[in-house]
Symmetry: C2
Subunit: 431 residues, 2 copies
């Protein structure tokens, strides 16, 4: 190991943990993994730690530091083809724990992102592939972030649903309907017992569905549905838009009767989410666009778990993300880790409601319930509700029947014998 590398290592017990966040990276490198890890710290913190002609070493306070390194394997070839441009020695895979000094960037999200996912991380000599696997924060740091305003407890109070998963539904056709036609579908779904009818993540403020008009029409329909059903009927409006319009979009939506708001988190940026969180009067829900391109590849980018933690940190009350099923291209372990990142203790930060998504229907309830081990989650079907053969009301009823079957300890197929809407759902989905 090069002599200069030593300044980028520290023993965990030597550090005041309140001063550091912990970053866990998996990387592949050519040559010595310890030298590579030191380079990583150098590139992502004090690239040059002394002035010419001055006897100083800024690494003590400002350098990020390797606190643990585990060599996972010697490799014959890179696990990702096309990433390695210069071979210079034996290839290794390693897992490294890095303590990163908070004093370098403070409590600002864009500066945190620069530190953990910036140029230095991905363009480090000899490291040809790297993925940020996890992140941990000291409580004294977490205290500086808002976290969810409502959280799971608040969402249960908001919706009035105490002891089962929340039923969200993506109103479909998602694109192309005028506000009245769109609202009529939501209304039907509410009559069937859907808790939250929501805009698709693609639906925004458009010429054919102006946001002000859509929220006004849906807000009225929601009030009507509540009167008819005697239960809370939520409309989750997608306010994803230019960041300097977000607070205005919030105000329009809330004034017009939308009672939950959605943001496509990475498309507006996590900092913009924090801004909305500090302003919002209603629960705010994350949609997971633009997370896949940097989280899906094993061995490169950033783990979805890190993104989930950051989304909770900036204040989402519910987080729609990857769920079970082949379309979601993820393992049950990753889905479970993400739900836990929503709900595990995180200092003063409230739990967020996990919403593992993807082509769901009544039959999605049981595997999620079994995996998570409790009812603190939501499902978010689209076509299963709004393309149900008997229409959206029947589609929503089928969700409740799916849950009732679980509570009765009966298979869905058996329960469907006496429950027509569920029977039709099963027929439609399973062919």
């Amino acid at each position: 190991m090069h002599d200069d590398s030593k300044g980028f290592f520290a023993l965990d017990r030597e550090l005041n943990r309140d001063d550091y966040i912990t970053l866990v990276y998996r990387f592949e490198c050519t040559g010595d993994p310890w030298t590579a890890a030191a380079h990583l710290c150098q590139e992502q913190s004090t690239a040059q730690w002394k002035r010419v002609g001055v006897d100083e070493d800024l690494r003590g306070i400002y350098g990020s530091k390797v606190t643990a390194l585990e060599v996972l394997a010697k490799l014959e070839a890179p696990s990702l083809p096309g990433m390695l441009h210069h071979i210079d020695g034996q290839l290794h895979a390693a897992l490294v724990h890095i303590a990163y000094p908070i004093i370098n960037f403070g409590n600002r999200i864009p500066n945190l992102l620069t530190a953990i996912l910036g140029e230095g991380v991905f363009f480090c000599p000899s490291i040809y592939a790297i993925k940020l696997m996890d992140i941990e924060f000291p409580d004294s740091y977490l205290e500086q972030f808002p976290g969810p305003k409502f959280g799971i407890k608040g969402l249960r109070a908001w919706t009035g649903i105490k002891d089962r998963p929340l039923f969200m539904g993506v109103i479909k056709p998602n694109i192309g309907l005028d506000p009245q036609a769109f609202s009529d579908l939501a209304y039907q779904s509410w009559l069937g017992g859907l808790d939250i009818a929501k805009d698709d993540e693609m639906l925004c403020d458009t010429t054919w569905s102006p946001f002000a008009e859509r929220t006004r029409v849906l807000g009225r329909a929601r009030a009507d549905a509540e009167q008819r059903t005697g239960k809370r009927c939520c409309y989750l409006a997608n306010i994803t838009d230019e960041v300097d319009r977000l607070l205005m979009m919030h105000d329009i939506a809330v004034r017009n009767g939308a009672d939950m708001l959605m943001l496509n988190a990475m498309c507006v940026g996590l900092s913009a989410v924090r801004m909305v969180r500090n302003h919002t009067q209603v629960p705010v829900v994350a949609h997971f666009d633009m997370i896949a391109p940097f989280s899906r590849v094993p061995g490169f980018g950033v783990s979805s778990i890190v993104v989930t933690k950051l989304q909770r940190l900036v204040g989402f009350d519910a987080i729609i993300g990857i769920g079970l099923g082949s379309r979601m291209k993820s393992t049950p372990e990753e889905v479970l880790s993400n739900t836990r990142a929503c709900t595990d203790p995180m200092g003063p930060i409230e739990p967020a409601l996990p919403v593992p998504a993807g082509s769901q229907w009544a039959g999605s309830l049981k595997p999620l319930h079994d995996m998570i081990g409790n009812a603190d989650f939501a499902i978010v079907p689209g076509r299963a509700v709004f393309n149900h053969p008997a229409g959206p009301k029947a589609g929503a009823i089928a969700l409740q029947q799916g849950w009732d079957a679980i509570k009765a300890g009966v298979s869905m197929e058996a329960y469907a014998l006496s429950h027509e809407e569920l029977r039709q759902s099963i027929g439609d989905i399973l062919g």
Copy 2:
């Protein structure tokens, strides 16, 4: 091909191109590539295109449409391991051109991003790997975006440098110096002829270098250096911060004498950049943090070229991105494509100055000049200037000498025989 798929195909000549952006994706799929491409269009636009019981088809106006598909290869195995969870037929690689209706999202950046890089794109049945390779916009769409306020022409007027590449330099040590010590280094580099002394992308508004104080001290030093050198000396201040602080950061910086501003584009979000562009009084420069995690993997995510185009669209005057050299893990072709994405005709959008970066020094000028074919670029060394054995002034002088050697048609080594600062640079870099 499934009958429903046909609604997601169109002939280019049937479409009014003013109504569509063009997306070029490379994907790998199991089974029929045409069906996969139709599914892609469905997932990313009208997931469900008719209501139950209504005879309608929303795909005509709102569906994205395959206009060309080229099967690139039959594959024996996925090009990326770990991405394919269910094999269902022969594997193919394909290149698809998709016309995406602008009416779905309008001229808002976060909604554009949702369409082109959202859930639908990355969680499409049978497509297990996909990368957005390129994007094209009709002029009528481009007119709705600001583009660079200064651009290359404006930057040349701003700096007074007419006929050579601009010399930027990242002040180092990048992290840990107080404003006065930091400013002293910038001052020395300006005396040596550096055009633009800049904050590192990691440096922000911190307790040990408060932004207001740093910009005040550097602003004064800049004025002094201009008086002593008789030439413009720019200070590029990094205003990357929470989005609701950006305009304030701009105002502080400009009032205190910073005359160029930097944003870590993806860390604040492209929409926030557009907001700053609409407010700024000085040139705005992009830094490339958090682009690598979704652009470096061949075959997954988004091409750096797309990100460069989007950065130009929202108004960056100069774009720091991947440059030549092994640390940058990119091919010369990709670097060149990115410089061209900055400068190629783009309707009413001004050219932005390309700044291909990464461990640069005087010797970086010639390969870039040869590749680009003109002097419309900047280099942005850090340690080569600020860790020059004789200090930052000598480091800056060496850059000019490197350029003078090119103009004289002499090799750097030959020119260095009579130019001490360049000789020391060569010794330091090449050992």
